[in-house]
């Protein structure tokens, strides 16, 4: 309800009129109601969001995380140029994959030979320290990907190799022989190529163009070592 002050008209028309000069002539009278409610729509939504994750059942929480992990698995299996892996990174998927791989790759406790396959801890260390080293390398070379995003991508792209491990274990149940080895070799090479394609689809864009090969080569070495561990696994 503003009462406008009456400004006298311009004494002379020679001076230019200021902007919005006519506004001062408006007076708002009582018979035009200016009223309403001012609410901030965000506030109620935030309150609702907070309480929903606290009060929801455990099953809901777990299923939501599992669905997120599963969605990312799909993105790895069908690599497209999408940002889902990078935007909402999580490390649950890499942990599940690494533990599965390490459990399947470790030699049994009855095998007391000194020169057997890798132990659980060795696989775990190779995967995680390898991923950390590659991430540090790509950051030092000037890449603009964050630390955990890169760890997330590298961890998720182990999925094809874990599938290869499962297939190899199944194939090893059959009789040993050169055909057995050829099948395993073919599967491992295929999955190795798949891993590389999937991870470079996500990681290559974050590097300056004249250093892409320098950043991709350690990824190649990393998956090569994991593939070799899978291929040389003997039950």
């Amino acid at each position: 309800m503003a009462e406008a002050a009456e400004s006298p008209g311009d004494p002379g028309t020679a001076t230019p009129r200021p902007l919005f000069a006519g506004l001062s002539d408006i007076s708002i009278s009582q018979d035009i109601p200016v009223e309403g409610e001012i609410t901030i729509p965000m506030r109620s939504r935030i309150r609702e969001f907070d309480s929903s994750t606290l009060n929801e059942s455990v099953q809901n929480t777990i299923m939501r995380d599992l669905k997120a992990v599963g969605k990312k698995f799909m993105h790895v299996l069908y690599p497209r140029k999408s940002n889902t892996l990078l935007r909402d990174w999580d490390l649950w998927g890499p942990l599940i994959l690494c533990v599965t791989l390490a459990l399947m790759l470790q030699r049994g406790s009855v095998d007391s030979e000194k020169d057997g396959g890798p132990q659980f801890a060795e696989v775990f260390v190779i995967v995680w320290f390898g991923a950390v080293t590659i991430t540090l390398n790509s950051k030092l070379l000037g890449g603009n990907i964050s630390f955990f995003q890169s760890l997330c991508v590298l961890g998720y792209c182990i999925l094809p190799l874990t599938v290869a491990m499962l297939v190899c274990r199944l194939v090893l149940l059959a009789e040993q022989g050169p055909i057995n080895f050829m099948v395993r070799l073919f599967v491992v090479i295929l999955m190795f190529a798949w891993s590389i394609v999937a991870s470079t689809a996500f990681l290559a864009d974050s590097q300056p163009p004249n250093r892409k090969a320098l950043a991709v080569y350690p990824v190649f070495l990393f998956y090569f070592v994991i593939s070799w561990m899978i291929l040389t696994f003997t039950p």
């Binding site: 030979e113 000194k114 020169d115 057997g116 396959g117 890798p118 132990q119 060795e122 390398n137 950051k139 030092l140 070379l141 000037g142 004249n210 250093r211 892409k212 090969a213 320098l214 080569y217 350690p218 070495l221 090569f224 070592v225 070799w228 561990m229 040389t232 696994f233 003997t234």
Partner: protein
């Protein structure tokens, strides 16, 4: 006039005055090491001091690297300066290490006083893994021919390979650098290399062993020794040609001792790797079975040898 000139240049020279201790630096143009910087710097600014031809390049490099002095060793940017290389530069350095030429100093021509840590680190990692993998592959191939050999993944060799290669590629340059620093007083013309340049020299010189190790899969012994000798010659030649300009002003004895120690250590590494990772095949596979021969030096296959020798 001179005073006016000095006044006119004053604000421009302030930055370079941090480097130039004395106004006439013609005679004191030696590479100096400052504690924070890891690149050899030629003291002296501008062309007015009569730059020597072969130090002009490092002069420009010194002015460029002035700005890189700022990050302390606790910042990320400090370590980022060691990875400031492009793909083409790394490939060029690898080519330079593969083909050593007598007049061609690796540090001056290829590194251009900008050592990087990418090459040494990843070449060592690749070499360690390739050693372990091909060592295991020779065992697989040997088992094909002689099923009595027990095959195992031998994963512990990865650890051994990694530790050996990394210790060699970092501790030996440290010792070499320390030795060269100690003998610094004897030299006038050429300063010693910085620690990172020494690490670079060693790291890139190990590259030639990667294809050699892969070629060692071929199970013909004399061919393996030929490849090994070739790789060792190339690698050691690269090291010697790079170290020669630094060492030749020293006394004869010191130079000879240093160079022969470098070559000897390199040879030791090559031969040690050959014997540990590529066990010679049991003699039965190379000679007729009825001939009894000496046992191979490795003790990893003792349980199976008596069985195969009994045929």
């Amino acid at each position: 006039m001179a005073a006016a000139d000095e006044l006119a240049f004053h604000e421009f020279e302030e930055a370079t005055n941090l480097l130039a201790q004395t106004p006439d630096a013609t005679t004191t143009r030696s590479d100096q090491l400052t504690p924070q910087r890891h690149v050899a710097v030629a003291v002296g600014s501008g062309g007015s001091y009569g730059a020597e031809d072969d130090l002009e390049e490092s002069d420009k490099a010194a002015l460029l690297q002035e700005e890189k002095q700022q990050p302390g060793f606790w910042t990320f940017g400090y370590y980022q300066s060691f990875f400031d290389v492009d793909t083409s530069q790394v490939l060029d350095r690898i080519k330079g290490s593969l083909l050593p030429r007598p007049g061609h100093n690796f540090v001056r021509h290829h590194l251009r006083n900008r050592p990087d840590l990418y090459g040494p680190f990843w070449i060592c990692a690749t070499l360690a893994f390739v050693l372990a993998v091909t060592g295991n592959l020779t065992l697989v191939l040997a088992q094909r021919r002689d099923p009595s050999i027990h095959y195992s993944p031998q994963f512990h060799k990865v650890t051994v390979a990694g530790i050996t290669i990394y210790c060699y590629a970092w501790l030996v340059p440290l010792a070499l650098w320390g030795f060269l620093q100690w003998r610094k007083g004897v030299r006038e013309r050429m300063g010693p290399y910085t620690f990172l340049e020494t690490v670079c020299i060693y790291g890139y010189s190990l590259f030639v062993f990667i294809p050699t190790v892969v070629l060692w899969l071929i199970p013909i012994p004399w061919l393996q020794w030929l490849f090994g000798a070739l790789a060792l010659a190339l690698s050691a030649a690269g090291l010697v040609f790079t170290l020669w300009p630094v060492v030749r002003e020293d006394t004869r004895l010191a130079a000879a001792v240093l160079l022969s120690a470098v070559v000897l250590l390199h040879a030791l590494l090559a031969v040690g790797c050959k014997f540990y990772f590529f066990q010679p095949l049991p003699p039965e596979l190379l000679e007729p079975p009825h001939q009894a021969t000496a046992q191979p030096p490795n003790t990893l296959l003792p349980p199976t040898l008596p069985k195969s020798m009994a045929t």
